[in-house]
Amino acid sequence: MIELTVNRKKRRYRGPAFKRLLDVLREDFELTGTKEGCGEGECGACTVLLDGEPVNSCLVPVVQAEGSRVETVEALGAASRLSPLQQSFLDQGGAQCGICTPGMLMTAVAHVRSGGSADPDSVRTALAGNLCRCTGYQHIVAAVVDTAKRERTRRARAR
């Protein structure tokens, strides 16, 4: 049995230890927000935060996440109560078909939370492991830049 914390809840997984973290989240924990796009670690649609860092969950056997904190898109907000990042995506057109969006949001939120730069090139670098085929990235970058700016301002005020 493998214990891990998912979206701040302690969860237990009983099944083959080599099942991918992606599949455990989607099938065993019914958190289908995280998607599979390629199985190669190229598209980033499967991105979750593992102990605060963005990783491709399609490449992580769940046994290696034992005892870790996992955060998925479901933790960010609900349709009736979007997080600032999600709201920014909605306002700026950051999601079209939406399949890359959960992974994109998790990578972006890690960048913002760590005080990541609001410079567009830094944001692009942070998101380089997340492929989008619909948007051409510009609206996504704008949304993350906005959110990063606001977060940095908030931090500066808090000091």
Partner: protein, 737 residues
């Protein structure tokens, strides 16, 4: 407050941001089998025997073959040549032979390894040229205008060139997936990732004959389509269904990335030859164009792709003497199909590069040549269509040139390139295109699209159409159109999920037709609904309680009070399908683009520094969504131009992975400036035309033109890889020495 023209909040937006949106693989489907496909390992052959390894435990496996198809073993599109499952002839690598299912996905794939297919292997035809020489032509079109020979006689200069464009993979981030099951009452249900529920419905009727109401097709939230889920779902739906009916259990088939890339449709490769007669001042007086496309092993939609290709082959230029001949041929490769632009990106690349070549030959700027010949109101196209209204060609060109400072920027690049110590070559390229909105010619009439607006018993207003939301914001723009037609808030409008049990057939979500054609139908339905309600005494604009009261009155027996409109060809659109003459499309969109790029002198890598584009969409129903379409289409086309190299080896894609078929990342994407131009179309809802595909047509030639300016190299084949730039430089140096 009016909704049209504002960037209303997307209706389908929030659930996509929270993980609540459910794509096909998110549905658990109790008791379902995972279906996997056994595919041909030869490009051409005759199937002799299928051998199941007796040492493997087949007890938990269900297998469906061609013999399990109750109806006709054929995937209905245009012709009846493509079998759902091969039974005798094998015509391409990856051709489906059987479907097998297991409750465990990994075990299903394992079972595939224990089946041997015995076949007599034949000699495949793998090139367009060979197919053409054999006469394996699916379709041929010819467009003639004026007197070509007279045109050439009057020319000062004749410019000839051949262009080649490759396959392109749609690379939607969600792969193809469909689930199927039969309900107790005998209804065959199919749900999944798709653009055209009614295409699937029609195909299923042929395969599994029953009353039309006994087939129900529902689109799930779809993670990108771009044409790759226009016709292909017919095949995968048939596979899921045949196994589901055999197993008497639900079946879900979801492709992994490698299978999706190897087996499903791609953009048609093409070879386009231009021979152009021009006057010294840049006037184009004769255009002779030969278009050859590779359709793959089955007809699928190739005639329609070819049609759009030839109808755009001249570029947005008026020329009195034209002959375009187009052919699409059969090769033993996986069938090609729809991809955003649908034949036009191919022929427009060639047309625009031809203008670039003409300019170079005449010593004129490419801008000047375009200005001389570009369509304006009153221009006559190659099919004899008079462009009567909504012709934004000149305006988009002017705007793109002005905003980008095209001419001074070109000079700056020339100055830069004269510096021997500069680490790069820089160039600015220009292109201008047009794109017909809606189906070609008589296509829209043939479709007989219908769409409905209803007042529901509970007072809500509902839109019913088969148009699918696949990222472009269908739900939102149709709601905006109906809201403004009724004069009520956008938030009051609900849009139905595309479910063939519920919505009428408003046609496929393709061809940049959703806003213009389906939106147009819905606007008229909304107008009718409003008139009817006003007649019932409802004061306008209505309040929600007033609508509820009205609903209680008019929704007899709890049924919606709805108005359906069916497409009528506007009276003055005339098209002769036999001679390919007349009004090919109701109206065209126009786009112009300026691209500045830099080529590294050490590595020949191309970095696009900036893209500036102006695009005429008639009317932007939702400007943010329009901009999103333009930005997204531009980046797909930058991939087509620079990165996406579909390598075919022995008749199948050899680099079928995201690792080796590379699409643009954030760092491959330049800053892009989009200018929306509105030249309203009198027959479009609030003046709207279409925008889905137009952005795909213009970037590739703009990039190639910029590379030409940067290096003097005139490259005629996509993608414009560093290896090819290097080779062209070597070849030039060799010629010069």
């Amino acid at each position: 407050m009016a909704s049209v023209g504002t960037s209303s909040r997307r209706k389908e937006g929030p659930e996509k941001l929270t993980g609540e949106a459910r794509y096909i693989d998110d549905y658990p489907l109790e008791g379902a089998l995972h279906g996997v496909t056994l595919r041909s390992k030869v490009a051409r052959g005759i199937l002799r025997e299928i051998r199941f390894d007796p040492s493997f435990d087949w007890s938990s496996v269900v297998v469906a073959t061609a013999s399990d198809i109750p109806g006709e073993n054929c995937v209905l599109l245009i012709e009846k040549d493509q079998p759902l499952l091969a039974s005798r002839e094998l015509n391409h690598l990856e051709e489906p032979i059987l479907i097998l299912g297991h409750s465990d996905r990994a075990k299903a794939y394992e079972a595939l390894e224990h089946i041997e297919v015995v076949c007599d292997e034949g000699e495949p035809v793998l090139t367009m040229e060979e197919a053409l020489a054999n006469g394996a032509v699916f379709k041929r079109y010819e467009i003639v205008k004026g007197d070509l020979e007279a045109g050439f006689r009057g020319a000062d200069v004749v410019v000839e060139e051949e262009y080649r464009v490759p396959h392109q993979e749609q690379a939607y981030i969600e792969t193809n997936g469909i689930a199927a099951w039969e309900e107790k009452d005998g209804t065959l249900v199919l749900i999944g990732s798709m653009q055209c529920p009614y295409y699937v419905h029609k195909a299923m009727l042929g395969l599994f004959p029953r009353a039309p109401e006994k087939i129900r097709v529902i689109q799930t939230v779809t993670g990108g389509g771009f044409g790759g889920k226009e016709e292909y779902p017919n095949l995968i739906a048939g596979h899921a269904a045949v196994l589901a009916l055999k197993a008497k259990r639900p079946v879900k088939i979801v492709y992994d990335r490698a299978e999706d890339m190897r087996a499903t449709t791609k953009r048609h490769p093409a070879r386009i030859r231009h021979r152009t007669g021009v006057k010294k001042d840049g006037t184009i007086v004769a255009q002779e164009i030969d278009v050859l496309m590779d359709g793959g092993a089955y007809v699928t939609l190739s005639p329609v792709v070819l049609s759009r290709g030839v109808l755009h082959a001249t570029g947005p230029y008026e020329c009195p003497n034209v002959r375009v001949v187009g052919q699409v041929v059969k090769t033993n490769t996986p069938p090609n199909g729809a991809f955003r632009g649908f034949g036009a990106p191919q022929t427009l690349f060639a047309a625009e590069m031809q203008v670039e070549k003409i300019a170079a030959r005449l010593g004129l700027d490419a801008l000047a040549v375009r200005r001389k010949n570009l369509f304006r109101e009153g221009s006559v196209t190659a099919t004899g269509q008079v462009l009567k209204e909504s012709v934004g060609a000149q305006e988009v060109l002017d705007r793109a040139v002005a905003i980008s400072r095209y001419l001074p920027r070109k000079k700056e690049c020339e100055r830069w390139n004269r510096r021997k110590a500069a680490p790069s070559w820089r160039g600015v390229g220009l292109a201008a295109v047009f794109h017909g909105a809606g189906f070609t010619g008589s296509g829209e009439v043939y479709l007989q699209s219908r769409a409905t607006v209803s007042l529901l018993p509970n007072g809500d207003i509902e839109v019913e159409a088969a148009s699918t939301e696949i990222g472009q914001g269908t739900t939102s723009i149709l709601a905006s159109i109906v809201a403004d037609a009724l004069g009520v808030p956008y938030e009051w409008i609900r849009v139905s999920t595309p479910d063939t049990a519920k919505v009428p057939n408003s046609g496929p979500t393709v061809a940049s037709r959703t806003c213009m054609i389906v939106g147009g139908l819905l606007k008229r339905s909304a107008d009718e609904l409003r008139r009817a309600l006003e007649k019932e005494g409802v004061a306008w604009p209505p309040t929600p309680p007033a609508l509820k009261r009205a609903a209680r009155k008019v929704c007899a027996n709890g049924r919606p009070f709805g108005f359906v409109q069916e497409y009528e060809r506007p009276g003055d659109i005339r098209w002769d399908d036999a001679r390919y003459r007349g009004d090919a499309y109701g109206v065209y969109g126009y786009a112009a683009m300026v691209v500045e790029l830099e080529i590294d002198k050490l590595t020949y890598e191309v970095t696009v520094k900036e893209v500036i584009t102006a695009q005429d969409v008639g009317r932007a129903i939702n400007p943010l969504l329009v901009e999103g379409q333009i930005l997204g289409g531009t980046v797909q086309a930058l991939g087509y131009a620079l990165l996406e190299n579909a390598i075919f080896d022995k008749g199948v894609m050899a680099n079928a992975s995201f690792t080796n078929y590379v699409i643009p990342t954030t760092l491959d994407t330049p800053p892009m400036r989009v200018e929306i131009v509105e030249k309203p179309y009198s027959l479009g809802p609030f003046g709207a035309k279409g925008v889905g595909e137009l952005p795909m047509d213009v970037p590739a030639p703009a990039v190639a033109a910029a590379i030409h300016q940067a290096t003097g190299l005139f490259l005629t084949e996509l993608p414009l890889l560093p290896e090819r730039i290097l080779k062209a430089m070597h070849d030039r140096a060799h010629r010069q020495s």
